[in-house]
Structure formats: structure tokens, C-alpha cells
């Protein structure tokens, strides 16, 4: 077997291993606990083949495309030495990847429904759409700011735990004052803002920057960008709930 075929078959095997638990859990609950037959076995089987092939392809593309690209950009910015350009890029990356995120669109629509039911906004379509749109903008803005803070931290070498713990304290304080119906939405907004393509790019960017800048350690300084992208939306959405 030649090298590319060997690499590809290893990826497929890895993908099978990664998916075995979820297939196992669903099969177990379906057959043993709920005691029901598998519905249309044929289409499920084809679907599973798609999932395995898709995951193998994705990981292949990650290693040959997304990771090198993220690191390339990090090194190019480090060579260029313009902090403003780097921060502008960081903001655009955070904002641009979040604003169109399908999970966020879904959660914003649900949140608008909650708000109109709670009487916080008028109970008509226009008010709900407007609310959902502002919420999406707030979350996208918060992720843009988060990546900027995260990149600044890498540049300055600030210890991450102080910033994160400070964020936790802020979330706790804001929770006490924010209206009840926004709290659940705000807490969930942190989790949905990080998508499958953003995460590898942002991680590679952070690790690349920490490698390229003298005196930074890729392990302690390179990771942590995603953490800000989770925490910041909570702070921004809670504040939005206080103001709106």
C-alpha cells in the first residue's frame, strides 16, 4: 500500500472509532431500553457511511488546510509587526464567523419568543425579529471583542486565569441584576458561538502567534482564545438584557 492510501485508511479507521460510541449508545437505547426496531435500516446505514467518510475528509482537510493557514497568517502578522492590523483581523474573524452561525440564529429566534412571552418586548413579528437581530449582533460583537482581548493577552503575556476569573465574577454580578428570562439565553450563547471551522482556525492562530513571538510559550499562551469567545457573549448578553 502506498503512503496516501495508508494515511486515508488510517483516517477512516480513526473516524470509525470516534463514531462508535454514539452509534452504540443510540442502538442500545433503541433496541434494549425502548425495545423498538431500527427504522429504515438502509437509509440509516447510508447516513452512517456519509458520517464516517465526512469526518475522515474533514480531519484530512484540517491538517492540510486550516491548521497551516492559521499558522501562516499568525507568522505573517508577527513578521509585519503591526498590532493594529492584527487586532483588526482578530475582530473581523470573531465577528464574521459568529454573525452567520446557524446555531446562534436558532437560539436568537427562541430567545425573542421568550422575551415576547415574558412581556419584555411587544408580541408581534417585527418586534421579535428586531430583538433576535440585535441579540445576534450583540453576540457577534462580543466574540469579535473576545478574540481581540485574547490576542492582546498573547502579545502582552497576561496570565489567563486572572482574566477568566474576573469574567466569572462579572457574570455572577450581572446575573443578580439581569431579568430572569435572559439568564438562560445568555449562559447558552457562550456555548453556541464557536463553530466547527472557527475553532481550528482560531486555535492555530493563537498557537502560531505564541510560537512566533519571543518569550511566549505555545502551551501556556497559545491556547485560551476560545475560552474568551465562550465567556464574553455571556457578559454582553446579560448586559443587553439589563439595557434592553
Amino acid at each position: 500500500m502506498n503512503a496516501p492510501t495508508a494515511a486515508l485508511s488510517r483516517r477512516v479507521l480513526d473516524a470509525l472509532r470516534d463514531l462508535a460510541p454514539i452509534i452504540g449508545v443510540i442502538a442500545f437505547f433503541q433496541v434494549v431500553v425502548l425495545q423498538q426496531p431500527f427504522p429504515n435500516f438502509g437509509s440509516v446505514f447510508v447516513g452512517l457511511l456519509c458520517v464516517v467518510a465526512g469526518l475522515a475528509l474533514f480531519i484530512q482537510g484540517l491538517e492540510s488546510g486550516l491548521f497551516p493557514l492559521g499558522e501562516n497568517i499568525a507568522h505573517a502578522f508577527a513578521r509585519k509587526g503591526s498590532v493594529t492590523a492584527l487586532l483588526a483581523f482578530a475582530f473581523c474573524l470573531g465577528f464574521g464567523t459568529t454573525v452567520a452561525e446557524p446555531a446562534l440564529i436558532a437560539i436568537a429566534a427562541e430567545a425573542a419568543e421568550v422575551a415576547s412571552e415574558a412581556g419584555a418586548i411587544a408580541a408581534d413579528e417585527a418586534a421579535r425579529d428586531g430583538y433576535a437581530f440585535s441579540l445576534r449582533m450583540v453576540v457577534a460583537l462580543s466574540v469579535g471583542v473576545a478574540i481581540v482581548i485574547g490576542v492582546l493577552r498573547i502579545l502582552k503575556g497576561w496570565p489567563i486565569h486572572r482574566l477568566i476569573i474576573g469574567g466569572y465574577v462579572l457574570v455572577t454580578a450581572l446575573t443578580a441584576f439581569a431579568p430572569d428570562e435572559i439568564v438562560g439565553v445568555a449562559y447558552d450563547a457562550g456555548g453556541v458561538a464557536t463553530s466547527t471551522i472557527t475553532v481550528p482556525l482560531v486555535t492555530a492562530l493563537g498557537v502560531g502567534l505564541a510560537t512566533a513571538i519571543k518569550g511566549r510559550n505555545p502551551m501556556t499562551d497559545g491556547f485560551g482564545l476560545i475560552a474568551f469567545a465562550v465567556l464574553n457573549p455571556m457578559i454582553f448578553v446579560l448586559t443587553f438584557g439589563l439595557i434592553a
Binding site: D18, L19, G24, V25, I26, F29, Q30, V33, L34, F38, V44, V46, G47, V51, V52, A53, G54, F58, I59, Q60, G61, G65, L66, P68, L69, N72, I73, S82, A85, F89, C92, L93, G96, E110, V114, H161, I164, Y168, T172, E181, G184, Y187, D188, G190, V192, A193, S195, T196, I197, V199, P200, L201, A204, P218, M219, T220, G222, G224, I226, A227
Partner: protein, 266 residues
């Protein structure tokens, strides 16, 4: 034949959807490369091929999930939450013990979905590479998956009991802060990151279906208010489990060393 045609149309539709999702990212990358950095990235061909692989792979992955796992997973979440209240009179009140099967299912599906989560695989690979193998990709993913399992299960318990979400999340923060000061410095940023990467393509739809199903079937809960919060659980508890995993590993190493030095002294 018809089924194959349907699948092909679905696939094309998903590819178009994914391309639209990725378009802003590509636009930003291209603009900054061309206008600010003013250079072609090294090995452009490899990067473009990689991007195409990612797009096709993600589309195949999503369509397969839609076809095979999500419909069963969602029906299952609904059936399990309904089955649990089956024998109860509506005015009997809610006893959290009636939902034992739901907690077990939540933990199992939380664990399994996390293991299959593509962004987590990406971060774990990166961590293994950067740490020179000191952090194993597989070990890290298992630790994160255990955290999600505990988190989602506890989140279901919260929906059933109707206790306030902030209590749990703020208590979790206190534990994370305490762990931060005890854990090895190098693991802390990675552990914080693990909270965000777990809630993505596979986990969010399954967990959201579970939360909504549960909030709709438990008497006195509203899916609109109580359905939220599971994602929050799934993004805090992995931080705890990764820090815990790292602390356990270094504790075992220290103990072994202490034992050895005692033996040496004797």
C-alpha cells in the same frame, strides 16, 4: 434510485449551505492576505485543497447525521422523557427519581456525541502536537466527554427539579477557580478552551432536543424558559473534568516519586 437522487440533492443543498456559512470566513481571510499582508501564503495549493476537503467533509458529516442519527436521537429523547411520566397522575407532583433513565441517557449521549465532535478533535490534535505528546489527544477527549456527560445529566436533573440555573453554573465556577490554583499552569488555558469546543455540530442538536423534550413533558416546566441551560452545563463541566484529570495524573506521579524516594532512603 429515488433515494439515491434524494441523497444527492440533499448533499448538494448541504454543500451550498456550508459554503454560505464559510463565505464570511473566506472573505476575511482573503481580504487580509491580499490587502494587509500582501502576500500569497506558502503552499497555496495545499491550503485550497485542504479547505475543499473540510467543506466536503463537513457537508457529508452533516448530511449523514441528519439521515442517520438525529431523527432517532430526537425521537428517542422524546420517548424517554414521555415514558418516564407515564404512570404518574398529573397532580401527583414531580419526583426527580422518576427520571433516572433520562439522566442515564443524557450522560451516555453527552459522552458519545462529544467523542465524535470535530472541533474537539482539532483542538486535541493541536494540544498533543504542541505539548510534544505529553497530553494525549485521546485522553483529553475522554476527559472532556466525561465532563459533558456529568454536565448534561446534571442539567436534566435541574430541568426536572426546576431549580435555578445560576446556582449550578456559579457553583461550577467556584470549583473551576479553586482547581485553577491547584492545577499545573500549562494545562489551564487548554482546559478553559475545552469548554467552548465541545458544544458544536453533534452535541448541540441532540442536547437541545433532550432539553426541549424534557421541559415540555415535565409538569410545570415551560420549554421556553426551562429548555435553555443544557449548553451552559456542557460548556462548564469539561473545564472541571480536564483540570481534574490533569491534577489526578500529576498527583499519581508525585506519589510514585515520593514512594521511590522513601524506598531509596531505606
Amino acid at each position: 434510485m429515488n433515494a439515491a437522487l434524494d441523497l444527492a440533492t440533499d448533499f448538494l443543498g448541504t454543500v451550498v449551505g456550508t459554503v454560505f456559512d464559510v463565505a464570511p470566513i473566506v472573505a476575511i481571510l482573503v481580504t487580509f492576505q491580499a490587502v494587509v499582508l500582501r502576500q500569497r501564503p506558502a503552499n497555496l495549493r495545499g491550503i485550497v485543497t485542504g479547505f475543499v476537503c473540510v467543506l466536503l467533509g463537513l457537508s457529508l458529516f452533516l448530511i449523514g447525521l441528519e439521515q442517520a442519527l438525529f431523527p432517532i436521537g430526537e425521537t428517542m429523547a422524546r420517548q424517554l422523557t414521555e415514558a418516564s411520566v407515564g404512570g404518574l397522575a398529573p397532580e401527583a407532583g414531580v419526583d426527580w427519581r422518576d427520571y433516572a433513565l433520562v439522566y442515564v441517557f443524557a450522560a451516555a449521549i453527552g459522552f458519545a456525541a462529544t467523542v465524535a465532535e470535530p472541533p474537539l478533535i482539532a483542538v486535541a490534535l493541536k494540544a498533543e502536537h504542541v505539548s510534544g505528546g505529553a497530553i494525549g489527544a485521546w485522553g483529553l477527549r475522554i476527559a472532556v466527554a466525561v465532563g459533558v456527560a456529568v454536565g448534561v445529566s446534571l442539567g436534566c436533573f435541574r430541568i426536572v427539579t426546576g431549580t435555578p440555573l445560576p446556582w449550578y453554573i456559579i457553583a461550577a465556577y467556584v470549583v473551576v477557580i479553586a482547581q485553577t490554583f491547584r492545577a499545573t499552569k500549562t494545562i489551564v488555558p487548554l482546559a478553559y478552551d475545552c469548554g467552548g469546543v465541545t458544544t458544536s455540530t453533534v452535541t448541540v442538536p441532540v442536547v437541545a432536543a433532550l432539553g426541549l423534550g424534557l421541559a415540555a413533558s415535565v409538569p410545570g416546566r415551560s420549554p421556553l424558559i426551562d429548555g435553555f441551560g443544557l449548553i451552559a452545563f456542557a460548556s462548564v463541566f469539561p473545564i472541571m473534568s480536564v483540570l481534574g484529570y490533569s491534577m489526578t495524573v500529576s498527583w499519581i506521579a508525585r506519589r510514585r516519586q515520593a514512594k521511590r524516594s522513601i524506598e531509596d532512603a531505606a
